[in-house]
Symmetry: C2
Subunit: 163 residues, 2 copies
């Protein structure tokens, strides 16, 4: 598996993964009917850096990061990850997480924050804890889960200066 | 004091208040050098509803609200407030806060969340607590305070269905 910068040529595959991920309505705020244009703006918007994890010619997942706030809050990065359902369970999320922490550190960020981790997404939460994140906030009933109704979302955080 | 929808004709006064508020670098992420264009986009951006508090012809402050997240998170509002330094201490923030809660409830939101309340902004925190908000998250050293260096920011929240 290789992780490299995403380019426009990757977008078709990224759009497929995005659609598959948001279809279940259980991990991301995006509606299953989110437009291709919105998806593109999300992954290739201004001041956003996107990467893809690839195996041969196949894109297994993607992540992006950017400043979580502007100006006086711009030392904290925000990041977002999607793994192709076809590539679950082989460490793509973990590899992208580690890569993202390194890239954000290199870019000069001092911390990373996830603003909206759905509380029922236990796999993701376990992974982020393993990678050094902790829950610093609980947003009550902030996510409308497609099957479970309103569930909490977490804010997760870690500093980047401790290796 | 009257609180009414903001219009383009109010922008000159809003821009003056904005500049005065961000000049101190102690409450908002905006740099003191934020452009007029960015300020305009902030108060009159897409899907944003803005209000001004006025006394006669003088604008005392402004607030805005919008969905904090799209789609599956769009039932929670986010709001933002600025009071003219010349109008501090006469209840403008409180009046706008109460007005905002009412407007957001009317618009169908079920909760309101502030994503980034600077922890040293004790006046604002006391006001929000008085208006029923509680701290649901602490973002460590997330704000670069102009005088104090890195300080925490809070996520504050309240539901809107309890009157």
């Amino acid at each position: 598996m290789e992780i490299r910068r995403a380019s426009e040529a990757d977008f078709e595959a990224m759009w497929s993964i995005f659609q598959a991920v948001v279809a279940t309505g259980d991990t991301y705020v995006f509606s299953p009917t989110t437009s291709r244009q919105d998806c593109h703006a999300y992954w290739f918007g201004p001041e956003t850096t996107s990467f893809v994890a690839v195996e041969g010619l196949t894109i297994l997942g993607m992540y992006k990061f950017r400043a979580n706030q502007r100006d006086l809050g711009s030392h904290v990065a925000n990041a977002s990850f999607m793994v192709s359902p076809a590539a679950h369970g082989i460490g793509v999320g973990k590899a992208m997480g580690q890569h993202c922490l390194m890239e954000a550190r290199t870019a000069g960020y001092v911390a990373m924050q996830f603003n909206f981790v759905v509380s029922t997404n236990t796999g993701a939460i376990a992974l982020w804890k393993k990678l050094g994140f902790s829950i610093v906030g609980t947003l009550p009933k902030a996510f409308k889960h497609q099957r479970l109704g309103y569930v909490d979302a977490y804010v997760m955080h870690r500093f980047l200066n401790d290796g």
